[in-house]
């Protein structure tokens, strides 16, 4: 049995080794990708060991650098972080396999720098998941922004450069202008930044102050993509699809909502939010984000952009859970991090598989593709249904929890938002699948860009993407089904974060 704090260090060290490994073996692709695959497995193993040790009652506290009392770089493990780390690390395995297939299938250039930045982004994600205080979290939050910037700009085209500029501008701008002052303000008020169950602001905090601070964080954590600071997410879609899949459906965006959840539980304290009513306004903002982003998603023809707007809307589910300021909302939000991760990564990987096989990006061109690529489109269908929230798929539970939370908070607006949003999900996700299984338009030919086919090739020649591209989404789609049956366990695992404070 490895000592608990060594496990924490391992979680940071393994992706960092991956970063160096990719650089070291930048000229031997098989060695590079195989090594990172092994490291991804190791990382998942380490996180699972943390999970088991945590259940065994292990203490994790690990102070790296102590600046002043209450101000340190420190790591710790708590249920929310463990769940987030589990999701990110297991999905890294799938995405890495997928990424190898995608990058090779597309003959992308600069693969070594791609995979090394990817590993660094995972390092930052692990750091966020296991931060013991807000300062550490902020450090890794910014590292995540910087390490994903080269990934977004990977194609080095004019468009990629513009997208990356929006990406960095919004994420770094919000974090510097709003998030950082919020952090310093908390420190100036509370004298500490440690995550403590029930909050650190003290009992006599003024409601107006809580409201302002919450606004600084809700908008300052730009990765949570609360409108109007959501534009970076569609802009980031110029990145290669594996990046969109793991980072912009799981790691980066979930780091944002995870931060908001952590702030709610460990900095503000859910009780404080309930008592002061300071989060009321956020219900409306998050609700608005959900509906507006869904409406925009419906109007997008580019598949990845549609999925991006869908992510914006789904992220606000979690923000909404925080805004409801009760324990059900927090748990529902935490569960939604998991279920949405599996659903959305499936959708993105399918979108990438379609691109590898046919080089098609627009939904209107995808008619009939499902017949040639049944596995891809079935996986897409399962992912879509999970996002919509139909049983027996994982997404059903998190939506259910959030509905319960809204009802117990007496927020009829939130209930209405969730219902309407589900309908909108159906409207913008299912047509893609249905269109895919429709008969192919007669007599049309594929573009010449399709790999391995000359001009005039028929639709029938379209095949599934390479196995490395369609197997991972199939697995994550299967994960959506499995998670349906284990959702209760995840809730049970996370529930100490809301019960110990006496609720």
């Amino acid at each position: 049995m490895i000592a608990p704090h060594i496990l924490l260090l391992l979680c940071l060290a393994i992706p960092l080794v991956g970063f160096g490994w990719c650089w070291l073996f930048r000229n031997s692709p098989n060695m590079r990708d195989g090594g990172v695959f092994a490291l991804a497995l190791l990382l998942a193993l380490a996180v699972i060991s943390i999970f088991r040790a945590f259940n065994g009652g292990a203490e994790f506290d690990l102070v790296l650098v102590q600046f002043q009392p209450g101000l340190s770089l420190a790591l710790n493990a708590e249920p929310l972080g463990i769940v987030f780390a589990l999701v990110a690390s297991t999905l890294w395995i799938a995405t890495h396999v997928y990424g190898v297939g995608y990058m090779r299938g597309n003959n992308e250039k600069k693969q070594a720098s791609f995979f090394s930045c990817f590993a660094f982004a995972i390092f930052a994600t692990m750091g966020i998941a296991f931060s013991a205080n807000l300062l550490t979290l902020f450090l890794f939050y910014e590292l995540l922004t910087i390490s994903t910037y080269p990934l977004v700009a990977h194609k080095e085209t004019e468009e990629a450069q513009k997208g990356a500029r929006v990406y960095l501008g919004i994420l770094m701008g919000t974090s510097i202008v709003l998030f950082l002052p919020g952090v310093v303000w908390v420190y100036a008020t509370a004298g500490t930044l440690d995550f403590v169950q029930g909050g650190i602001l003290g009992p006599n905090v003024k409601p107006a102050f809580v409201g302002i601070l919450l606004a600084l964080f809700a908008f300052g954590v730009g990765k949570a993509a609360v409108m109007p600071f959501h534009r970076w997410l569609p802009a980031a879609m110029v990145a290669p699809t594996p990046v969109s899949a793991l980072l912009h459906a799981v790691a980066v965006v979930k780091a944002g909502v995870f931060t908001i959840l952590k702030l709610d539980v460990y900095i503000f304290g859910t009780d404080v939010l309930t008592k002061t009513g300071a989060s009321q306004w956020l219900v409306w903002v998050a609700g608005g984000s959900i509906i507006i982003a869904s409406l925009i998603a419906m109007s997008q023809d580019n598949l990845k952009r549609r999925l991006a707007y869908s992510t914006v809307s789904q992220l606000s589910y979690i923000t909404l859970g925080v805004a409801l300021a009760n324990s059900l909302g927090v748990l529902g939000g935490g569960l939604h991090i998991v279920t949405h991760a599996f659903g959305k990564i499936t959708l993105f990987m399918c979108a990438g598989a379609i691109y590898v096989a046919t080089h098609k990006t627009e939904i209107s061109q995808m008619r009939g593709l499902g017949r040639q690529m049944p596995i891809t489109f079935t996986a897409f269908g399962i992912g879509a249904l999970s996002i919509i929230g139909l049983p027996p798929l994982a997404g059903a539970w998190s939506k259910w929890e959030l509905l319960l939370a809204s009802a117990s908070a007496g927020q009829w607006f939130a209930i209405a938002v969730l219902m309407i949003s589900s309908l909108l999900n159906v409207a913008y996700l299912l047509p893609i699948v249905v269109r895919g299984f429709m008969p192919a338009p007669a007599g049309e030919t594929l573009d010449d860009t399709v790999s391995g086919s000359g001009s005039g090739s028929r639709w029938a020649q379209v095949r599934e993407a390479p196995v490395l591209c369609y197997l991972p989404p199939a697995l994550t789609a299967f994960g959506c089904i499995v998670l349906f049956f284990y959702a209760g366990d995840i809730i049970g695992f996370m529930s100490p974060i809301v019960t110990e404070s006496g609720r």
């Binding site: 650098v65 102590q66 600046f67 770089l73 902020f138 450090l139 910014e142 590292l143 910087i146 080269p150 700009a153 080095e156 450069q161 500029r165 960095l168 501008g169 770094m172 701008g173 510097i176 202008v177 950082l180 002052p181 310093v184 303000w185 420190y187 100036a188 008020t189």
Partner: protein, 512 residues
């Protein structure tokens, strides 16, 4: 022997470089000059670290020159505040020198190399002396030593770009005006008190009724030094001097000269005068504070539109000086400490940036933005250095710049000035823009096809000192305790007022 060195540390740290300058010229060989300079700089740095350790318990070192006791004799008086400044100057001096050796090969005609080392050592001596001395007039003397040699150093850039001459001339005129103001201010003080020793001055000023001579003296000192430190509307000499000087000189000046001038302002405001009330306080809150914030925004905004990267960095320096001044105006421990921490961190950051940019100039022959195209591929280590130092300039966590920004903001909240905090972060966003303009050119644009030698990585002699600074930036961005602690001790000493806290340790032979 060792005892003798240690006992005379304050004197040796300054006099060795002063002696090295003429010795280097006498030998007349550039290699000999380099090694003599290098040895004295390293020794000087070691002595500064030793003195910093001595004062880190809050005591003050006093050294009586020539066995004459103050206030008659000249005294070197070192507490945590000067120790920190002296560490900055000596560390940067020692790091820039090996870089300079490679860089001046191309930038300065071979006949001037020994002279370069001599001027460099004189400039170094001057800056160190200003920081070490406890005698107000001695400040002026050392200031002139450093200024005069700086004018020559800047003018040496003329081989690359003739505009260096007019830049040096600008600097000469404005610098002299500044020095004149300063010395007139000292004259007023002398008239009012009859002494020039800082401890004695502080004593006499505290016991004398407020009068216009004393106030006028303060105004002249602040304005004179304001010119030297490039306080916002008085910064006009700086962009030219930094952009047209040889790269090594830009790197050394940008990281030390303005900081030393700022130190003088701090020393006079807090230790000689009394900043806690009266017109000194009014000056800080109603004149320095608005000017600092204006500098933070205006200079950053101007930096965004520069095509010359060295000029971009120069304007960024003007805005960063705004941060350093801002901390002082809080008049609390965190704020004053923030000023010192930012001096330390910004010296590393701007030094590294000027050195990295200098390497690009060395290879491509131009500091204009287009010549940076594609160096992400052709000069990967240089480009990476620019990125890391740029992140520190923005204030991204895990770099030194973040630490100073954090402390500066924490001080503002402590003071209850939360809008100031937002001004700080607002100006950082401008830094994001000008840094990223550079990053995009480096990584997204194709390298220029030249008929001359292809652009490749700079020589190790330049790369290694730069990367030592880059590693220091990251190191002090994470393990920030040492500079923060020293800065807090310095701040405590300054805020206590006066220059004598009863813990004076006399080094060497006490004067009679």
């Amino acid at each position: 022997m060792l005892e003798g060195i240690v006992q005379n540390a304050p004197l040796l740290a300054i006099m060795l470089p002063l002696i090295a300058a003429p010795v280097a010229v006498l030998f007349g060989n550039k290699s000999v000059a380099f090694y003599i300079s290098g040895a004295t700089l390293v020794l000087s740095f070691a002595l500064c670290v030793y003195m910093a350790l001595l004062v880190s318990d809050g005591s003050i070192l006093s050294y009586h020159i020539g066995g004459w006791a103050p206030p008659i004799g000249i005294e070197y008086r070192i507490d945590a505040a000067n120790a920190m400044v002296m560490i900055i100057v000596s560390a940067m001096g020692a790091l820039v020198l090996p870089y300079a050796r490679a860089s001046i090969e191309k930038e300065i005609s071979p006949g001037h190399h020994t002279m370069f080392y001599a001027c460099y050592m004189l400039c170094f001596t001057g800056l160190m002396g200003v920081a070490a001395t406890g005698d107000a007039f001695n400040v002026f003397v050392f200031l002139e030593i450093s200024s005069l040699s700086t004018y020559v150093l800047v003018a040496m850039g003329a081989r690359q770009d003739k505009r260096a001459l007019s830049a040096a001339y600008d600097y000469l005129i404005l610098g002299t005006v500044g020095a004149t103001f300063f010395v007139i201010g000292l004259g007023f003080l002398y008239i009012a008190t009859g002494t020039l020793n800082m401890v004695d001055l502080a004593d006499k000023l505290a016991n004398s009724p407020d009068n216009k001579t004393i106030r006028a003296g303060f105004a002249l000192i602040v304005i004179g030094m304001g010119l030297k430190l490039a306080l916002f509307p008085l910064h006009r000499w700086l962009p030219g001097a930094y952009s047209y000087a040889p790269s090594a000189v830009s790197a050394f000046l940008a990281s030390t000269a303005t900081k030393v001038a700022l130190y003088v302002v701090i020393r006079f405001t807090f230790s000689v005068y009394d900043a806690s009330s009266g017109f000194e306080r009014t000056t800080l809150e109603y004149i320095i504070l608005p000017l600092a914030i204006t500098a933070m925004f205006t200079a950053s905004a101007v930096a965004i539109f520069q095509m010359n990267v060295k000029k971009l960095l120069a304007y960024s320096s003007v805005s960063q000086i705004g941060y350093m001044l801002l901390g002082l105006t809080y008049l609390n421990q965190t704020g004053v400490a923030a000023s010192f921490i930012h001096m330390f961190n910004h010296a590393m950051t701007k030094g590294a940036l000027f050195m990295a940019v200098g390497m690009v100039v060395w290879r491509t022959g131009s500091a204009l933005l287009p010549s940076f195209a594609g160096i992400g591929r052709t000069m990967p280590w240089t480009a990476a250095a620019i990125v890391v130092a740029g992140l520190s300039l923005i204030g991204v966590p895990a770099t030194a710049g973040f630490v100073s920004k954090w402390v500066l903001m924490a001080g503002a909240f402590e003071r209850g000035w939360w809008p100031v905090s937002f001004a700080i972060v607002g100006s950082s966003v401008l830094a994001v823009i000008y840094v990223w303009r550079l990053v995009e050119v480096m990584y997204f644009q194709e390298p220029k096809a030249t008929t001359k030698d292809p652009v490749r990585e700079a020589p190790l002699a330049m790369l290694v000192p730069t990367w030592i600074l880059i590693l220091a930036i990251v190191w002090f961005g994470i393990a920030a305790n040492a500079p923060v602690e020293l800065a807090r001790i310095a701040a405590d000493g300054l805020l206590a007022g006066g220059f004598d806290n009863g813990q004076t340790v006399i080094l060497g032979i006490p004067g009679r």
